[in-house]
Subunit: 237 residues, 2 copies
């Protein structure tokens, strides 16, 4: 495997991992701004500039954390799928959505790292885009067999146009939703997946960033309503 590319490469990978672990702890303790190369180095018994052998700079380290977080989340979601034997689309959505929320609540800082605010107008690098797609993939499968209400027609149309314009996207959608052969079907699946994303993000990001902290309601109930009504809108079985 790629792990046995010589002892040096292995040691290097090991050190990179240790650095990231310390960075994650600092992230958990004080948020993004308190990830400090100097302190990471000190904690590892290294001194300052040594870290630059492993990461080009602070941003590079943070990017690595973001990539890992995406991968981890995507893995969790994909792992959740086969758990349910022959799920109805509705139950599959429930499973995925709960898995999503569970991951976020387990890794709040990492989620804020992913979803947190870059600059307005910022465009994620393409590899990040691909990773985000990997997390969205399982949701696409949910909506391939659906009977959406008229209220989403405009959104489905917008998504359909996008699928038509972007062949890569089209093949990607079909990879997750094999029966979505027409642009319309693919657009419908994308509409469902993106709605799941925005709704999940809305509910969960406010929960995890502490905005519900002083509020005496049940965040889980809120989340479930969003998922439930999403299933309704798409007429999932």
């Amino acid at each position: 495997m790629a792990t046995s590319a010589g002892p040096r490469a292995r040691y290097r990978e090991q050190t990179r991992t240790e650095i990231k672990q310390v960075a994650l702890r600092q992230l958990a303790e004080g948020g993004l701004p308190s990830i400090a190369l100097t302190r990471i180095a000190k904690e590892l018994g290294l001194s300052g500039p040594a870290l630059y052998r492993y990461f080009a700079n602070r941003d590079d380290l943070v990017s690595a954390l973001i990539r890992d977080a995406y991968d981890d989340m995507a893995a969790a979601l994909n792992a959740a799928v086969p758990a349910e034997p022959h799920p109805s689309p509705r139950n599959l959505l429930y499973t995925l959505a709960r898995c999503y929320r569970a991951w976020v609540l387990d890794h709040p800082h990492r989620y804020l790292l992913i979803a947190g605010s870059p600059l307005p107008g910022y465009s994620a690098p393409p590899d990040t885009l691909a990773r985000a797609r990997a997390a969205l993939g399982p949701f696409v499968a949910v909506f391939e067999h659906a009977d959406p209400q008229p209220a989403v027609a405009a959104l489905v149309a917008s998504m359909t146009a996008w699928v038509r314009d972007d062949p890569d996207l089209a093949t990607w959608v079909r990879g997750h939703a094999p029966t979505a052969q027409t642009p319309e079907a693919a657009g419908q699946a994308m509409a469902g997946a993106v709605l799941a994303w925005t709704r999940g993000h809305g509910a969960v990001s406010l929960e995890v960033s502490g905005q519900f902290e002083q509020m005496g309601h049940n965040p889980r109930a809120l989340f479930e309503v969003e998922v439930d009504t999403l299933a309704d809108i798409f007429g999932l079985d």
Copy 2:
């Protein structure tokens, strides 16, 4: 008015405002981390520590920006209400929601400042809470006359329990929704308002933080679907 509390206080307020303006520009240009007291001072022809006469520290300045943003947004929303003469609840919701999105798109950085990620577990100071409520207020009025679907029953129940436990909240809700006398009615209004908040935030925060950047769909269509279906769920006229 409060502005004529002596020439000194007036000059002081003026300087504070200038500082905040420069800070806002820096925020727009490079995000939160590039708000730098030293550079603000330089730009104003002052030198470093002078700013500490006006703000206790960097966090204090940022807090002031957050407070201003909340106030500004709340003002925009409240100003949007009387525009529509005798609106149906549904049309009122549309008006408010579009106003919300318009404000966010007009002030993306300030929105990210408000909604952006503090630490998980962070609790906003009470005055911020009050300001957030002021922005939520107009939405409460929308949902006082509604006929919610069974899918939201659990959420309404959760909100009702909260209203029952928190007399301050109860009076605040009645301030915006005079007919919501029972805890149930108030809980229903809160459920609608909070759902509007989370949905709006989900759609708009992803849009404004650039997550839709490379995606060929129409963010407006997405937003409208969310608002439309929210109105449906609550059976708004």
